[in-house]
């Protein structure tokens, strides 16, 4: 019997090459070497490989581009080692679902840009193409300062800005969830890349983000400033809102990323995952009957109120320390993902300032993009007033929030807890949808609050009265008699008044019914017009 031509012979053996492949993979595992890794660990930072292993499902990381780097060869041309490219990326699973992920390797040249034939990560890298083409979420683990001026000597010319542009990063913002974690110092391109995300998180005290770091700032402006003061979490998260959430350490960072993704669909062509909820839809909390004080001047704990209504343990707050006059959170009702926008009476009575407006706009866009219905828990006296507020362009930023709500097409539910006034109040309604508004008995509304309005509208009558203060109080009392929410409900100006304890069953019923609309409205959303 003849031997078929394809059968192996003694010389058809690729073991030597496979052995080289094994050695090359082992070199990649060594990153920038033991000394660089020890130094990195001493800064309380994990290596990129440790980060990936901590974040994803055990054993699920399939690396791509592990052989990239600069090879070292002996006189005979045999490879003696490879300094890996300072970026590690590939495919993995988080809670069983595929994600594309990658991050700079700080132990190799501080994670600066690397120029092979094709970029691995960052804007325009393979990892972005993978997320885009496969329609799976992208996670960026950022620890690098971007380009280095030394590249000019390597290339022999200066590169035009955008040679590796953000066009793919922008495309991803409308198609798949993008999460960026800042785990070291991010400046330039990597810092910009972080911002083009649906959710960003950084480590408090051990991560920094800025357009340019202290040396550039000192050279440009003569300002001497530390990294922490320029781009630590206190500035970037709490003050500027450049990054959404701050966490204590990298472990919490990875748990936060997993938590955020648990509320997200894989892409805009799918619905967010519904989970089985063991929290009964008809649970009625007695505490809700007494949570709002009868005195209109006394605030209450809106976070607790929200927690009593939504599925137990389901609240995940986004930007908790920024724009605190409004609370934005992902949560669940009967296992369905919902977005919560709740005014916080403890901060300026819930008045929308420029930061709260910016936060609300971003959150509404996030929910609308990923087909997440929005529940507004309303207690808003209006936009923030005063000179500082006008200097900050609160009116413009506030109206941008109103504009975003009017462009959104996900179902929205307006639950008026107490105050609902003016343009900020209007911005909490589903004017392009069902315009479904329910109120608690403590609710009140109008184009502006009675107190301030009376002084302006009845100025002459009050001034001419023998006792102006008394007359003002009388007029306020006369007008307040018309302010009962029951009178508006009689006129069907609000669709219902609910017993506060029934808020949860009521919302669960309608969010469940809205799934048919959500299922039949999938896909990317194209919005036109010029936002104010």
């Amino acid at each position: 019997m003849k031997t078929p031509p394809s059968s192996p012979s003694a010389t058809d053996d690729w073991s030597a090459e496979v052995d080289e492949l094994r050695r090359r993979r082992a070199w990649a595992e060594r990153l920038g070497g033991d000394d660089a890794i020890a130094k990195h660990h001493a800064e309380r930072r994990l290596t990129i490989r440790e980060r990936i292993a901590s974040l994803v499902d055990e054993g699920s990381f399939q690396e791509v581009g592990k052989l990239t780097g600069s090879g070292h060869y002996d006189k005979e041309g045999r490879v003696t080692g490879v300094t890996p490219a300072p970026y590690v990326m590939g495919l993995a699973r988080i809670d069983g679902r595929s994600v594309a992920l990658g991050g700079e390797d700080f132990t190799v040249r501080g994670g600066t840009s690397w120029s092979g034939d094709r970029k691995k990560g960052g804007q325009g890298g393979f990892v972005e193409d993978l997320a885009c083409q496969y329609r799976i979420p992208l996670v960026n683990l950022i620890d690098g300062a971007g380009g280095s001026v030394t590249s000019i000597t390597r290339r022999g010319h200066a590169v035009f800005p955008g040679v590796h542009g953000f066009e793919r990063s922008v495309e991803l913002m409308g198609s798949v969830p993008v999460v960026s974690a800042v785990l070291g110092t991010a400046a330039g391109g990597p810092a910009g890349r972080a911002i083009l995300s649906h959710f960003t998180v950084m480590v408090r005290g051990n991560a920094h983000v800025f357009a340019a770091g202290p040396p550039v700032v000192e050279r440009s402006l003569g300002q001497k400033i530390t990294k922490e003061d320029l781009g630590g979490a206190h500035l970037a998260v709490d003050t500027a809102g450049t990054i959404d959430n701050a966490v204590a350490d990298e472990r919490e960072c990875f748990a936060t990323i997993r938590r955020f993704l648990s509320y997200m669909p894989q892409n805009v062509w799918e619905l967010p995952p519904k989970i089985a909820s063991d929290d009964a839809a008809d649970r009625c909390e007695e505490a809700l009957l007494r949570i709002v004080p009868r005195s209109r001047r006394k605030p209450y704990d809106m976070r607790r109120l929200v927690e009593l209504v939504v599925d137990r343990g389901s609240v995940f707050e986004i930007q908790p320390s920024f724009g605190r006059a409004v609370i934005t959170a992902l949560a669940r009702l009967s296992g369905h993902v919902v977005g919560v926008v709740a005014n916080n009476p403890l901060v300026y009575g819930g008045a929308i300032d420029v930061k709260a407006a910016r936060k609300q706009t971003h959150f509404i866009d996030l929910c609308d993009t990923f087909h997440i219905p929005i529940v507004f828990f309303v207690d808003v006296p209006g936009f923030m007033v005063g000179r500082d507020a006008e200097v900050a362009a609160t009116l413009r930023e506030g109206m941008r929030g109103v504009y975003a709500a009017l462009q959104a097409s996900v179902p929205m539910y307006t639950v008026v807890i107490r105050k609902c006034y003016g343009m900020a109040g209007m911005g909490t309604t589903d004017k392009n949808g069902l315009d479904f508004k329910v109120a608690w008995p403590s609710a009140e509304w109008g184009s502006l609050p009675i107190e301030g309005g009376v002084a302006a509208a009845f100025r002459r009558e009050i001034a001419q009265h023998a006792d102006p203060k008394r007359r003002e109080a009388e007029i306020e009392a006369e007008l307040r008699a018309f302010a009962s929410p029951f009178l508006t409900a009689e006129a069907f100006g609000v669709e219902d008044i609910v017993d506060p304890r029934e808020t949860r069953p009521y919302l669960c019923r309608f969010v469940d019914a809205a799934q048919a609309k959500l299922r039949t409205s999938l896909g990317p959303k194209f919005k036109c017009g010029v936002r104010p």
């Binding site: 001047r297 403890l346 009575g349 006296p381």
Partner: protein, 73 residues
């Protein structure tokens, strides 16, 4: 003994100081009330301690983040 600065969360005016120098407070207790946007906003002790000093008086204006009292912890 360590001290801790108590800061106002919001801009407004001090409406009522509801504690006294030397008084012991627990974390979460209201130290004073600031009136802001027609609301009574409590200034809360973030940790327990004894009130050593007030940096403001009733009726004073306060700015967001301003230190209003010092606690001995």
């Amino acid at each position: 003994m360590a001290t801790c600065e108590v800061k106002a969360d919001v801009t407004g005016s001090v409406w009522k100081i509801v504690t006294a120098i030397g008084q012991k407070v627990d974390a979460g207790d209201t130290i004073m009330i600031v009136e802001s946007m027609k609301m009574e906003i409590p200034v809360i002790a973030e940790e327990g301690g004894t009130i050593r000093e007030f940096r403001i008086a009733e009726g004073d204006s306060v700015a967001e983040g301003q230190t209003v009292a010092i606690l001995e912890t």
